[in-house]
Symmetry: C2
Subunit: 300 residues, 2 copies
């Protein structure tokens, strides 16, 4: 039983992490998994400009999990909750014969007319992103190839993403952006979602992308395309912002929130069919983001 924040709106969101899909128990500790399960939800609240307040933890637990590991998972989640002033107010635990599922619902509060959505971008708005791109996806590849250096920034990004709560709340309060979204399914996916919801097109400048240095090195040393990897890779819990071209309010936000840095990477355009990556003067199609399903329709 909770007392709503006076005169504010309630923002609720839910997001699950699943063993074998979002994490692998060989690459992440139970505490990492708990940290991540909460963080992906705080990232969704941050993208709406909401102050996180409470969370519910729903654990779908294989019978084989030792109690001590369950405790470590809850400790990892609770520690991250504490850092963000979030109260874990309840939850549920149930058994499964399948993989571990950690499903979190988070609640936050936001002033009326100060929340951010995906649908407010206008042609001419600048596209900004926070922090760096592609780190988590490269970190996962490193882990898959047997690297276990916990000092790697990329591996840390995969294991322990940091939601941009302070940035999102500050942007929302200052009305510094017309639209926002987090990059949980990658930058390319977020660009497509915001463009579609807002009825605008996208032109992104490949050279401007703030690719995580370790990720750039990882992909280029393997003959890969670091730009495409950074656009398509998921699990970057940075924020995408649509900012009016003059951007005076965003400058003010940047004075208050120095970390993470913000980078302009392109422009929303008038033609909603335009989804373009500009590289060395040439136009390429924007890649797709991470997709959970290939949709199939079956006749029954």
């Amino acid at each position: 039983v909770l007392a709503p924040v006076r005169n504010e709106r309630l923002v609720v969101t839910t997001d699950a992490v699943v063993e074998g899909v979002h994490f692998n128990c060989a690459y992440s500790t139970p505490a990492d998994i708990g940290h991540k399960a909460l963080s992906v939800n705080l990232s969704d609240l941050a993208a709406m400009g909401a102050v996180p307040r409470w969370a519910l933890l729903s654990l779908v637990l294989p019978g084989s999990w030792p109690v001590a590991d369950v405790e470590d998972l809850v400790d990892g989640l609770s520690a991250q909750a504490g850092r963000h002033g979030v109260s874990v107010v309840g939850g549920n635990i149930t058994r499964t014969d399948g993989p571990l599922v950690v499903d979190v619902t988070a609640g936050g509060s936001v002033q009326s007319r100060r929340w951010l959505t995906r649908s407010g971008a206008r042609a001419g708005d600048a596209i900004w992103v926070s922090g760096t791109l592609g780190g988590a996806a490269a970190g996962l590849e490193m882990l898959r190839s047997g690297i276990r250096e916990s000092a790697s920034a990329c591996i840390a990004r995969h294991r322990r993403p940091e939601p941009r709560v302070r940035l999102g709340v500050t942007v929302g309060r200052a009305r510094a952006a017309r639209a926002a979204m987090d990059l949980s399914d990658g930058l390319a996916d977020a660009l497509r979602q915001v463009a579609a919801a807002s009825g605008v097109g996208v032109r992104v400048d490949a050279e401007a992308l703030p690719i995580e240095p370790g990720a750039r090195e990882w992909w280029t040393s393997r003959g890969g395309d670091a730009v495409l990897a950074a656009l398509a890779g998921g699990d970057d819990y940075e924020l995408l912002l649509a900012v009016p071209a003059k951007g005076g309010r965003l400058r003010s936000v940047r004075r208050h929130v120095a970390d993470p840095p913000l980078t302009q990477i392109g422009t929303f355009t008038k033609d909603a069919r335009e989804l373009v990556l500009v590289r060395a003067g040439n136009e390429e199609a924007l890649p797709k983001g991470y997709e959970h399903f290939e949709l199939r329709t079956e006749i029954r």
Copy 2:
């Protein structure tokens, strides 16, 4: 983004149903599963006296599920939401290599100091239950033994439980009970939980238990003990109430809510160690309820 109900408290709850644990796709249609996933959450709100308002649906979906089945599941959940005035305001969908998990978070509202908890029962309070007991557990056994009569009340109770929303809200508003809980893990479990939280004992009268007629017939025709089955069987989404001995307010509730009927089945007692079933003048130990886990501690 939701507007909290003015001057009321927010009640949030989360409960998941898992394929192979809470339902079997051979026994329940996708629409049944959707109905049940919401209903178990509405039952938790009802047990607190909260009016259900909104729900979030988190689907953890095997890649093999046809889109049409997913739509049927969502339709079953939405239809039940509509019957109870609940808005499905959002959710999440993710892939799994394991069984289907349908995790719902529900929000409700309740007036200050009018919510029901498990901890308020006092020695001397009467124990009441709503509706009938043991139907869902017998229905599951019928399905397991190959019976598919959808006309069976027991099978219907397993497939499409009905949460006691109106009863719970009316009891809470009238302050007609000192404690309440739903019977999701069975009557015996609920009795133990309320007794432990309230620091009281329990004496239950076996002859008074309102066992579902079809369940009684099913167990006795197989040489089983219908009383123990009704006490230990889970999935009865009825309400257990601790009611002051005079019970004047409950009489008033019963005039307003005729369905489901309410039955007095025993008394909360002073000695917290007492967990007794009285049958034909003899005292038996109260059986345990449904348990999701046998807890194990491992040394690492």
